[in-house]
């Protein structure tokens, strides 16, 4: 009874066993709503899983590999570019450039297609350019904010330990903020999947799960649409877990003081 009250009170720490029960219960509720929902626009689980089987035979696996490869490539390039640019904000010369890049996140991807088409030689390249641009403008914004919010005391500490300017950058920003960099990467990698479907809709030359989703959507195959969304969700969760695991391995100190570990 007490545990139940704790679940509804703010800032309570609950046991792992209770968390498992809570997650299980909420999943069951969600599944029940899905199964028993009267709306005709919500395909039933059985229909979705059947559509998933059909899609698999239509080449879902291959499309997934194409999309996954494109996304990983884009995330890797975006992460390298954005981290480098964010770290470069320690140099006053680069601050206006990074600020300008950050502001470009308000631009529509569709409006940039023509510009990137002129630059790209293949469909894959065009998609990669679009994806790298879209993810990087958000990634660099998040990471530049992390760099800007480092307290002066951290820099002072490094200086009192006789570190030169670049060693200070390496120790305080690159190593010292690695846990936050992983967190920004995690958020932006998730956004990559959201943008991927849009990008694959703009250039369908290679196919991909985004092109497949748009085709099914166009023909109003709701079960197939849900099946693809479910696949993307599962892949995204896997990616999120993998980045979280890397963060735990490389930055074990990061969560030591959190109330909700």
């Amino acid at each position: 009874m007490n545990e139940a009250i704790e679940l509804l009170a703010p800032n309570r720490v609950i046991s792992k066993k209770t968390v498992r029960w809570l997650v299980g219960f909420q999943l069951l509720m969600l599944l029940s709503i899905w199964i028993f929902s009267p709306t005709v626009f919500l395909p039933k689980p059985r229909e979705v899983f059947r559509a998933l089987g059909d899609l698999w035979f239509e080449g879902l696996g291959g499309e997934l590999i194409t999309s996954f490869y494109l996304n990983i490539q884009a995330i890797a390039i975006s992460a390298c570019l954005s981290l480098l640019l964010a770290y470069l904000t320690v140099i006053p010369f680069f601050r206006p450039i990074v600020a300008l890049l950050s502001k470009l996140r308000f631009l529509s991807m569709v409006g940039l297609t023509f510009f990137f088409t002129l630059m790209a030689t293949t469909g894959h390249e065009l998609k990669l350019f679009l994806l790298v641009f879209s993810v990087s403008v958000f990634f660099v914004t998040g990471m530049a904010e992390v760099v800007a919010s480092i307290p002066k005391e951290k820099f002072d500490l490094a200086r009192t330990l006789r570190m030169g300017d670049w060693r200070v950058v390496y120790e305080v920003i690159v190593l010292g903020q690695a846990d936050k960099a992983f967190e920004v990467l995690r958020q932006n990698a998730a956004m990559g999947w959201m943008m991927l479907t849009m990008v694959e809709g703009i250039s369908r030359s290679e196919g991909g799960i985004g092109a497949m989703l748009l085709n099914q959507n166009k023909h109003f195959h709701l079960s197939a649409v849900f099946a693809i969304q479910l696949t993307i969700l599962l892949l995204g969760l896997g990616q999120d877990y993998a980045i979280g695991l890397l963060r735990k391995i490389f930055c074990p100190y990061a969560d030591l003081t959190l109330e909700r570990k």
């Binding site: 330990l161 006789r162 190593l175």
Partner: protein, 273 residues
């Protein structure tokens, strides 16, 4: 009366002035710390640096540490004919900053390797300090896993390993209970007396605690005009020599009536600043 003599000048503040947007913060601050020599004894130096809030203590603190340059004047250490550089004077800030992404051992090795190029020597030195400061069992922990006292000791060791015998401590007595206050005072004296040249400057508001560990007290304040209005720009208005007054290096000094009287004298002067 304990016998002692003064040796060479270890740290010298020469006419340091600081202005922000034309507004004087510090004005011609001058002071020096000399090596105190006692027969058959390793005696470090401890200076208590007192002053009301907003007087510019932190600014002078940063200049002495080589973190900020003054508008004019200079601070020199070890008789060198050039301004102090960051790293020559260790700094233990109020919240004891450490690199949170490194373990205690890694934090200390990083500091030791800045000065000692031989890894083996640096490692042995770190282990020795960890033993001396009762932190050896905490070596593999991260700073967030340490208590306040352990963190303070770790921050002190880190700075000692890297600096040239100088340590600036910002408000080390702030927010401590009586037991921790006594331990911190003992720790400061222990660190000071580890080497003849060790010199600690303690910036604090706590007159009693500062007087109980220091051999000299610097009192920072502003001059006043005839109407009693404070003039802009502060400086060291008073220097108290506790050795001369026979008020240092005695165990249980804080219970001596002369010490109590001295603390009252400093507090009365403090109120006029």
């Amino acid at each position: 009366m304990v016998s002692y003599t003064y040796g060479k000048t270890l740290l010298k503040i020469e006419n340091v002035s600081l202005e922000y947007d034309g507004r004087p913060i510090l004005r011609n601050v001058s002071a020096e710390i000399k090596d105190i020599l006692r027969p058959d004894c390793t005696q470090g130096q401890v200076v208590g640096f007192l002053g009301p809030s907003g007087i510019g203590k932190t600014q002078l603190f940063r200049i002495i540490a080589g973190l900020n340059p003054p508008t004019s004047g200079r601070v020199t250490v070890n008789g060198l004919d050039r301004p102090v550089k960051a790293g020559e004077v260790g700094v233990v800030a109020q919240d004891y900053p450490l690199f949170e992404h490194r373990t205690v051992l890694s934090n200390l090795l990083l500091a030791a390797n800045r000065k000692e190029k031989d890894d083996k020597v640096a490692h042995d030195k770190v282990l020795q300090y960890l033993n001396d400061f009762e932190l050896i069992d905490k070596a593999r922990l991260y700073p967030v896993q340490l208590s306040g006292g352990q963190r303070q000791r770790c921050a002190i060791i880190q700075q000692i390993l890297c600096s040239d015998h100088f340590l600036l401590m910002d408000e080390p007595f702030s927010g401590l209970d009586l037991l921790m206050l006594e331990r911190t005072c003992a720790l400061i004296q222990k660190v000071a007396n580890m080497d003849e040249l060790n010199t600690i400057i303690v910036v604090t508001h706590d007159v009693t605690a500062a007087a109980s560990v220091a051999d000299h007290l610097w009192l920072m304040g502003r001059d006043h005009d005839a109407k009693g209005t404070p003039l802009p720009g502060s400086h060291i208005v008073e220097t108290y020599d506790l050795i001369e007054r026979n008020l240092c290096w005695h165990p249980e000094i804080i219970t001596h009536p002369q010490f109590v009287e001295f603390v009252r004298e400093v507090k009365d002067r403090f109120r006029t600043l």
